[in-house]
Amino acid sequence: MAATREEVLGGLAELINDETGIATDTVELDKSFTDDLDIDSISMMTIVVNAEEKFDVKIPDEEVKNLKTVGDAVDFIVNAQA
């Protein structure tokens, strides 16, 4: 069963915390991965691959660059699950 938007945000926050140590409650929808959370391209790809596994979706390489904010990633995952 597909996860809700809130569940995806919570799960993504855990993955980001695992990779970077960033507190889960600071991972909010409007935060930019690079500008606000200071996540570099290699960590971003690690988070993407782990998110694919966690949410059973495919996030193509060419799509990753469009995921500027946490909200972009949540929306993509929710739509990909639909």
């Binding site: 570099d40 391209s41 290699i42 790809m45 993407v48």
Partner: protein, 334 residues
């Protein structure tokens, strides 16, 4: 039509690495020397690549010179007279003189003339490919002793303003002598390619474009995120296949020698493989940089200098790079 039955060659059942030799560019180039044109910092490079310095050769030293130095050390340590080496394979992508081959020149320089000699291009998987060839050719009886060299002068194909790969790259050569063995010591190679991702890493222009004034000097580029994903998660599957093909598990390994592409790749790769703490991981990249086809034998050389007790233990070596291509095999460390 009838004819006499032909002879076909056969060789020994098993092969092994007898020795390893190394040569690095004589200049240690710190991050601070490269950060200006890419508007970066020592900290930025260390954090993203784990590289502190990389070794680069001077203008008067070419890949063939580095290859010769590494080969001489490997031959000396092998105890095999140079004239008994009848096969020389050089894996390289950076021979700026496309022909003659580096291999033929090295064979002559080290005293192995008239060995069969050729260069091959499988980018950062070149050394693993060449070991596969040497192993197969010796077991087929086509050669008795082989000199396998990975040699690169990548500083000739870098762009100081490129932020994707140039600052990772170093110059060096690593060599092994491969010969017959009483017991299996080079396990089956798992190798392959994926040309659908040819654009992910490679030269940005052709020599013809450069000749015609349509581009600058061709240099290396990469799509970092694409390469990272492939190098860790796809290559972890290949590494597991190589362990299966060898009939061992990661618990049996003494060492893990991945292509020295980026420390972040090495760390994540080791994590995906769930290597036991007892497995020593080659991390030569920190002070040598990424030397493409040379990186695995250079890492092996350093590993055995720092941990001589690992000699005789099992190492998983895996190369992966432009093509895309990959090659992995378990070997007994010389």
């Amino acid at each position: 039509m009838t004819h006499p039955t032909l002879s076909q060659s056969t060789g020994p059942a098993f092969t092994r690495l007898l020795s390893v030799g190394a040569a690095r560019g004589e200049n240690a180039v710190p991050n601070d020397d490269l950060v200006g044109p890419i508007d970066s910092s020592d900290e930025w490079i260390r954090q993203r690549t784990g590289i502190i310095t990389r070794t680069r050769a001077g203008a008067d030293v070419q890949a063939v010179d580095l290859a010769t130095d590494a080969a001489r050390e490997a031959i000396e340590r092998s105890g095999i007279p140079a004239e008994q080496i009848d096969l020389v394979i050089v894996a390289t992508i950076s021979n700026v003189q496309q022909t003659p081959s580096i291999a033929a020149v090295v064979a002559d320089r080290v005293g192995s003339n008239p060995a069969a000699a050729y260069d091959m291009n499988a980018a950062c998987a070149g050394y693993a490919y060449a070991v596969a060839q040497a192993d197969a050719l010796i077991r087929a009886g086509a050669a008795h002793y082989a000199l396998v060299i990975g040699a690169e002068k990548l500083s000739d194909v870098v762009d100081p303003t490129d932020r994707t790969i140039s600052f990772l790259l170093g110059d060096g050569a690593g060599a092994v002598v491969v010969g017959p063995s009483d017991a299996p010591a080079i396990a089956p190679t798992v190798w392959g390619s994926d040309g659908s991702k040819a654009d992910a890493v490679g030269m940005n222009h052709t020599l013809v474009e450069f000749r015609d004034g349509a581009s600058g000097w061709p240099t290396l580029r990469q799509e970092g995120q694409t390469v990272f994903r492939w190098a860790v998660w796809d290559m972890a599957k290949v590494a597991k296949q190589a362990l299966d093909a060898a009939g061992i598990t990661s618990d049996d390994l003494a060492a893990f020698l991945p292509h020295q592409a980026n420390m972040r790749i090495i760390d994540e790769f080791a994590k995906q493989l769930k290597l036991p703490d007892s497995v020593v991981i080659g991390r030569d990249i920190a002070t040598t940089g990424n030397t493409s086809a040379a990186s695995i034998p250079l890492a092996m050389h350093r590993l055995l200098e720092e941990h001589p007790e690992l000699s005789g233990g099992l190492a998983l070596q895996i190369g992966f790079g432009a093509g895309l291509v990959f090659g992995a095999q378990v070997v007994v460390l010389p």
